[in-house]
């Protein structure tokens, strides 16, 4: 190897070797992706990501709890008084101000994720004998959060209102959650 052609040789070498190592790195990185992706929800889990619920049997004043994505969803057929009390509430003084109209699609039915926004307990208030809290909606027994007929936080440590899942009415009494 004479001195004269060293630079050219070196360039060629760098190119070849660098592209080899780069390609090797790309290959190794793409092998890592399946290892990570396998932890994402699987196809059968995603297939259960939406639930359809028939509300025809649900009479005024009754509530049902359905399971959606492993969490309880509260659906309550509200009485006229409950609707009125939820609607009449002034926004002043609410911790997480929202009108009842913002929280329902059909005012007869309130649909909520039944998980307290404080630390994830399931509030009471679905069964007729349950403690419903000072505002008549739901009451979380873990740390004493009180929710009203619209699922809004009124008293206690929870920071926000009960979450509204994504849902739509497929007919008057058939809803699809998710």
């Amino acid at each position: 190897m004479t001195k004269k052609n060293i630079p050219e040789d070196k360039n060629k070498r760098d190119f070849l070797q660098v592209s080899t190592y780069a390609l090797g790195a790309v290959g190794a990185a793409s092998f890592v992706w399946p290892l990570i992706n396998q932890m994402n929800p699987a196809a059968d889990t995603l297939a259960l990501a939406s639930t359809e619920v028939d509300l025809e049997q649900l009479e005024e004043g009754q509530a049902i709890t359905v399971t959606w994505r492993g969490k309880p969803v509260f659906i309550r057929h509200r009485t006229k008084e409950e609707i009125a009390s939820a609607k009449d509430q002034l926004l002043d003084g609410l911790r997480d101000p929202q009108t009842d109209e913002e929280r329902v699609q059909n005012e007869k039915y309130i649909v909520l994720v039944g998980v307290c926004t404080h630390l994830g307990c399931v509030p009471l208030g679905q069964k007729s004998g349950d403690v419903k809290g000072e505002y008549g909606g739901w009451f979380c027994p873990c740390h004493g959060s009180h929710y009203d007929h619209s699922g809004r936080i009124r008293k206690g440590p929870a920071p926000t209102n009960l979450e509204i899942p994504q849902y739509s009415f497929l007919s008057d009494t058939l809803i699809k959650i998710g």
Partner: protein, 417 residues
């Protein structure tokens, strides 16, 4: 080397307190390696990489697997159908087992051909045989986990081997099963052991490497390294060579995983385990076939088990059976011949292990088994007494096999220039 070993001051700071970079530099970078290694020396690093692939895919599979007889089969199918890339991970793991054995068997036969087990590398060899044993145990238990027909009946047959032990055999089998047949407790403990044994293998592999780096690699000529002129630093010479070997291996492996994933498997294992019905032909995975042939060749239950384990045990004492001071087959014409006989014998045993145990196959199995032990126990100890080895070259740098002094002087002069 001058005082600041590394250009990067952070690396230097760390290395002063924790000499990990010095260690890596010493063992992976500068590490002097004979410069005449051929491609058969790739299979050691390939085995290491395959072990890592198996552990990594195994860990992610275990995140999706359920070790319960009612759910194991379905959880594997869920991996195949619903888990993101699950089919890919499972097929890599499943075929990886076979490829691991292909690589390791070539690695072992390379050691046999070039006499890599001889002094001072006896412990290196023994650790390798230990790794093989652990691999076999791990592979066997892994095969049980999908809980298909072959899983179940393989587990039943292999665990029953222990019942051949006099007096306490039955108790040992009951203990292995945790019940009165292969059942849920068996599956649970096999899963646990299948998960943990690979890490034990990693531990032994580390010892294997420590022993290797004590005297460095053997080489195709089988003579000791005489000085710097015989070696090259491991990096970049053998890192690039190992990378090339890996890329070729990965291509073949990928072709199997993507295009023939069930080629080395058995269709019966896609039938859920049924303790009431044994499949018509039960055959172990191909890598156990030679041992299976030995097991069946012996007409006695205990004898068969002893000979089967003996086939591996004999490898442990191999360094003391082969007394020849010459390592490489290149200079041992007779040993070379017998080496190839052994290769053929092992292939024959593999073939016979897959055949039904009847008629001519039984006779051939017995002959092949007898020859296997004859090779190790009779031929190897006697060979040095009758073999006239060919003259060894002076050093690796003068690898003229004719060892004509003329040629070596010419070489030596050329190097001076």
């Amino acid at each position: 080397m001058s005082k600041p070993k590394f250009k990067n001051p952070v690396v230097n700071w760390i290395d002063y307190r924790l000499p990990i970079f010095t260690f890596m530099n010493h063992e992976l970078n500068e590490y002097p390696t004979p410069k005449n290694l051929n491609y058969f020396w790739n299979f050691g690093s390939l085995a290491g990489i395959t072990l890592v692939i198996m552990i990594v895919t195994g860990i992610v599979l275990s995140m999706n697997y359920t070790a319960h007889i009612d759910y194991a089969f379905d959880s594997v199918e869920r991996i195949m159908r619903d888990v993101n890339h699950g089919w890919l991970l499972r097929y890599i793991h499943m075929n990886g087992a076979s490829f691991f054995f292909i690589v390791v068997y070539i690695h072992i036969f390379r050691g046999l051909y070039y006499g890599s087990y001889k002094a001072p590398r006896e412990i290196l060899w023994i650790l390798g045989v230990l790794i093989l044993l652990l691999m076999m145990a791990t592979a066997f238990m892994g095969y049980v986990l999908p809980w298909g027909q072959m899983s179940f009946w393989g587990a039943t047959v292999i665990t029953n081997l222990f019942s051949a032990i006099p007096f306490i055999g039955e108790s040992i089998v009951t203990w292995l099963w945790g019940g009165f047949s292969v059942d849920n407790p068996t599956l649970n403990r096999f899963f646990s052991l299948h998960f943990v044994l690979p890490f034990v293998i990693v531990g032994v592999v580390i010892l294997h490497l420590v022993a290797l780096h004590r005297f460095g690699s053997n080489n195709p000529i089988g003579i000791d390294v005489k000085g710097k002129q015989d070696t090259v630093p491991f990096h970049p010479y053998y890192t690039i060579k190992d990378l090339f070997g890996l890329s070729v291996f990965a291509t073949i492996f990928a072709a199997a995983v993507f295009f023939f994933p069930n080629f080395m498997g058995h269709p019966d294992n896609y039938i859920p385990a049924n303790p009431m019905v044994t499949p018509a032909h039960i055959v172990p995975e191909w890598y156990f076939l030679p041992f299976y042939a030995i097991l069946r060749a012996i007409p006695d239950k205990l004898g068969g088990v002893l000979f089967m384990f003996g086939a591996i045990m004999v490898l442990f004492v191999l360094p003391w059976l082969d007394k020849s001071s010459v390592r490489s087959s290149q200079f041992r014409p007779l040993y070379k011949l017998f080496f190839w006989f052994l290769v053929i014998d092992c292939i024959a045993l593999g073939y016979l292990g897959a055949m039904p145990a009847e008629g001519i196959y039984v006779v051939l199995s017995r002959l092949a088994t007898a020859y296997y032990f004859f090779h190790f126990l009779i031929i190897l100890p006697l060979l040095p007494k009758i073999e006239s080895t060919r003259p060894l070259p002076v050093s690796i740098s003068t690898p003229i096999i004719t060892a004509s002094s003329n040629a070596s002087t010419v070489m030596a002069m050329r190097e001076k220039k």
